[in-house]
């Protein structure tokens, strides 16, 4: 298990579905939605739970649509 747990929140109305974040993600967390947003772009959604909060997706996002959260896991 990863020691850190992260999460991303994607602003689907700003997203243009360019897929740069999908290839930037080292844990393949992101995928493309089957629905479109108001502009007609297939936006990006989270499809898996392995996010580590590395912020790679947010860095490459040209529209700054991604907000990243990260928390260190407490030792159990």
């Amino acid at each position: 298990m990863a020691k850190v747990k992260g999460d991303v929140v994607i602003d689907i109305e700003v997203c243009k579905g360019c897929e740069l974040c999908i290839v930037a993600c080292p844990t393949d967390v992101l995928g493309k939605s089957k629905q479109v947003n108001n502009k007609g772009y297939q936006y990006i959604v989270k499809v898996k739970e392995e996010c580590t909060g590395c912020e790679s997706c947010a860095l490459v996002c040209p529209d700054a649509a991604i907000t990243v959260y990260r928390k260190k896991k407490q030792a159990v």
Binding site: D7, I10, K16, C18, E55, C61, P62, A64, I66
Partner: protein, 267 residues
């Protein structure tokens, strides 16, 4: 939407709380949807400039100069004072602004059709005078806004709407490498070439832009940051294909890295 994602992600523990926030849209980047094509590097560079301005806390002291080109609407997206310049003359306008208000941070944001074609003279003379400003140069090797015509920086044999059989270097010349032209001028303090195609490169580009603003504070002279960028629409590619083209074709001709660094920093 936010609530749904949060519920789906973690029913037992919610980590989307302000104390866990590590990355969000910078404040200086206004909450306006950008007109750029999907995957365009302009948005990323706007974001980096906004982040640097936020980090240095100079939002009230920064003046940008927008060019003619795709980034002509940069003033709509960045929450700092902006001036629009005639085609190619952004560095000349920035010179005037900086000389009248030397305590402000002034940067010009130009594309390759602007800086390397019609504005070559202004750029070279601004650098030769060593004006104390930051020039950000987005080099995507094509005229984006007008529909993909050949630019001076277009690669040999690269197709565009005005070179449909590829750029013929016999008749159209070789690509103009602006950084090589200006690196011989002693008044230029810092020249670097970066890209924003991967997360690592984005971090490096941000450092370069930050240095440009910091050198301006120290009154060092011209800083020139070239960003080798993609243009998915006019290269007729998807964003991912355009990044591949960037790595395969553009980087060999425009290698990334620092071209002129202050002497103290030379390792």
């Amino acid at each position: 939407m936010e609530e749904k994602v949060m519920e789906a992600v973690n029913a037992e523990e919610n980590i989307c709380v302000p104390e866990n926030l590590i990355y969000q849209r910078p404040e200086t980047l206004l909450d306006v949807p950008m007109h750029y094509c999907p995957g365009c590097a302009h948005g990323t560079v706007h974001k980096l400039i906004a982040e640097v301005i936020d980090e240095l806390d100079i939002q009230g002291k920064t003046i940008g100069v927008a060019p003619v080109g795709c980034s002509v609407f940069a003033y709509q997206y960045l929450g700092v004072d902006f001036s629009e310049a005639a085609h190619g003359r952004a560095s000349a306008v920035a010179t005037g602004i900086k000389r009248v208000m030397p305590d402000k941070y002034v940067f010009s944001y130009q594309g390759d059709g602007d800086l390397a074609a019609i504005g070559t003279a202004e750029t070279i003379h601004t650098c030769n005078r060593g004006e104390n400003l930051l020039i950000i140069f987005i080099n995507n090797g094509i005229y984006g806004m007008t529909g993909g015509q050949m630019a001076p920086t277009t690669l040999p044999n690269m197709k565009s709407t005005t070179s449909p059989y590829g750029r013929d270097v016999q008749t159209m010349g070789n690509p103009l490498v602006m950084t090589d032209l200006i690196k011989q001028l002693p008044s230029v303090y810092y020249i670097t070439r970066q890209a924003v195609n991967t997360a690592g490169n984005v971090r490096k580009a941000k450092k370069a832009i930050k240095k440009g603003f910091q050198y301006q504070d120290l009154n060092k002279g011209t800083s020139f940051v070239e960003i080798v960028a993609n243009c998915p629409s006019n290269w007729k590619m998807t964003p991912l294909q355009s990044n591949k083209f960037l790595e395969d074709q553009m980087f060999p001709y425009y290698p990334l890295g620092d071209i002129k660094v202050p002497e103290k920093e030379v390792k």
